[in-house]
């Protein structure tokens, strides 16, 4: 445990969950026995509970988004490891509403299997369950990768909009459809100049030579499939924005919500400088930047990089995005 601040590296996640519950008492409850974080004040109108989860190390995702207007519960696994199906099953049972529970699942093999097993178990108990699979990361969009694109930044935007939609009283199938539709219109791409610190030994998980960037990193500290020379920010953001727009093919005059997301240790100065370049490029490309969200939302421990996410939206979805939310990490 060289550079992490922890009692011991094994206790970091559970200690953090204790501290999270302390800092946000009144808002969330940490169920230690069953391993989930649950909203204390949900939205009474909801017919469907929203639940997500995944490896830890991506904070504020997912625990930071538990609360009114977003998730009813989140199941954190160990660092970068899927939660156990039992956590998901128990949390789902605990929060399910009249019309069941919707699982928001990032596309990673472990998460898929564990959420799917929990769904089987819920079905056995007669609890309706559906899944939204988030697969926005363009770097993993390749014929060679049978498992499909990874799920990254889109998760936050989908959780927010589905949360607001659930609060209007939509049913399970309608929410699952909306989630699938949003996901199909949402893509992300990430770049990093330094790896995260490995919790075990305090060393960088991998080395990036000075003046190089990894282009297309994921959120588990994996290398990207491409190294590029560290280029000035305007060139880099243009490369990323065009990658996104090529994939999304926005119709003329389309509106987008943008997420400029820090992966762990880039500064807000950089994030806002990125936002500036993104805003100028979208302008030049005739795309309307309806809303932008800037900050650390989906991290990869302390990786030094950022991701850009664009979501093509219609008016009603912007209204859902703007709807009130009261969670530890997002409140308005």
């Amino acid at each position: 445990m060289a550079s992490y601040f922890a009692r011991e590296s094994e206790s970091l996640v559970s200690d953090a969950l204790d501290g999270f519950a302390l800092a946000h008492r009144g808002l969330v409850e940490h169920n230690v026995e069953h391993g989930h974080v649950r909203a204390l004040r949900g939205s009474p109108e909801r017919r469907v509970a929203l639940l997500s989860g995944g490896g830890s190390g991506h904070e504020p995702l997912h625990i930071g988004f538990v609360g009114a207007g977003m998730l009813d519960a989140a199941c954190p696994g160990r660092v970068f490891a899927s939660p156990h199906n039992r956590q998901i099953f128990e949390a789902s049972r605990a929060v399910a509403r009249a019309d069941g529970v919707l699982h928001i699942v990032k596309n990673y093999t472990g998460d898929r299997i564990n959420f799917a097993i929990a769904a089987e178990r819920l079905a056995h108990q007669g609890i309706p369950c559906a899944r939204v699979l988030i697969d926005d990361d363009l770097a993993s969009d390749s014929e060679d990768i049978a498992v499909g694109r990874r799920g990254t930044g889109a998760t936050v935007l989908v959780e927010k909009i589905l949360g607001a939609a659930a609060d209007t009283g939509l049913g399970l199938a309608e929410l699952a459809d909306l989630g699938a539709s949003l996901t199909s219109r949402c893509r992300s791409i990430a770049a990093a100049s330094a790896a995260h610190t490995a919790p075990g030994n305090g060393l960088p998980a991998f080395e990036i030579p000075a003046n190089y960037l990894e282009f297309g990193v994921g959120i588990h500290g994996e290398r990207a499939d491409r190294s590029i020379v560290h280029e000035p920010l305007d060139a880099l953001v243009e490369r990323m924005t065009d990658t996104l727009l090529n994939a999304l093919e926005p119709p003329a005059g389309a509106s987008v919500i943008a997420l400029v997301n820090g992966l762990g240790s880039i500064t807000r100065l950089e994030m806002y400088a990125i936002t500036r370049e993104l805003g100028q490029l979208l302008d030049a490309r005739g795309v309307h930047l309806a809303r932008s969200l800037v900050g650390d939302y989906v991290t990869a421990l302390d990786m030094r990089g950022f991701s850009l996410t664009l979501l093509l939206v219609v008016e009603e979805e912007i209204a859902l995005f703007d709807a009130p939310v009261h969670t530890a990490a997002w409140r308005w």
């Binding site: 199906n85 039992r86 299997i113 564990n114 799917a116 097993i117 769904a119 089987e120 178990r121 056995h124």
Partner: protein
Amino acid sequence: MIFDRTFTEGWIRRFGDSVLATEPELTELDQQAGDGDFGANLGAGLTLAVRALDRDRSAGEGAGAARVPLDITATVFLDEVGGTSGPLFGLLFQELAVSAEDTAPVLTTPGLAAGTEAGLAAVRRVGEAAPGDKTLIDALAPAAEALRRCPADLTPDQALVTAAEGAWGGVRETAHLRARRGRASYLGDRVSGVADPGAVGIALLFASADGTVTELAPLLAERAEEERRP
């Protein structure tokens, strides 16, 4: 012979004995094709399941229900066992329990067939693998197929022997397959010739209805001998 709770409990306990007896071989298979923890995962699951059966005090009520031991085992595998395979076994036990419930208080051959079929479907839904991907599906699918073909009046113990034969056939096929799902998929051709450990686990389950398996080598090798025949 009555195929009640005593039968299913005996089946699970023998499965436990089989896994403990063959654990080193299971470990070796997963070392060649994966990360080497399959024997430990399955062994730990069965130790916990047997302990849960020992502890179970529901014997009084609905004592005859064949479902109960299957249910207990399902919960243990779903709740406590790690690795990809643990919860997949749990799903299979869960579906076997449901089908046993439908035909309570005794197990029937059509019930076994339906439960195995439902277990296969659940594993396929969850793991998103297809037959031929070199997973435990390649043992479970022929076992389900064999059970489906069994006449309704065949006793469950005989039906399970048929299922085990189907499963072993599937296991031996996996040695010739290229893994496309799970950890083994990253290793590509390097593991051809090696059977899939998860599939072996499935075959052990069905084979244990009849007795305890203590050695894998002959069961894995059989096919090679068959092939050597002209």
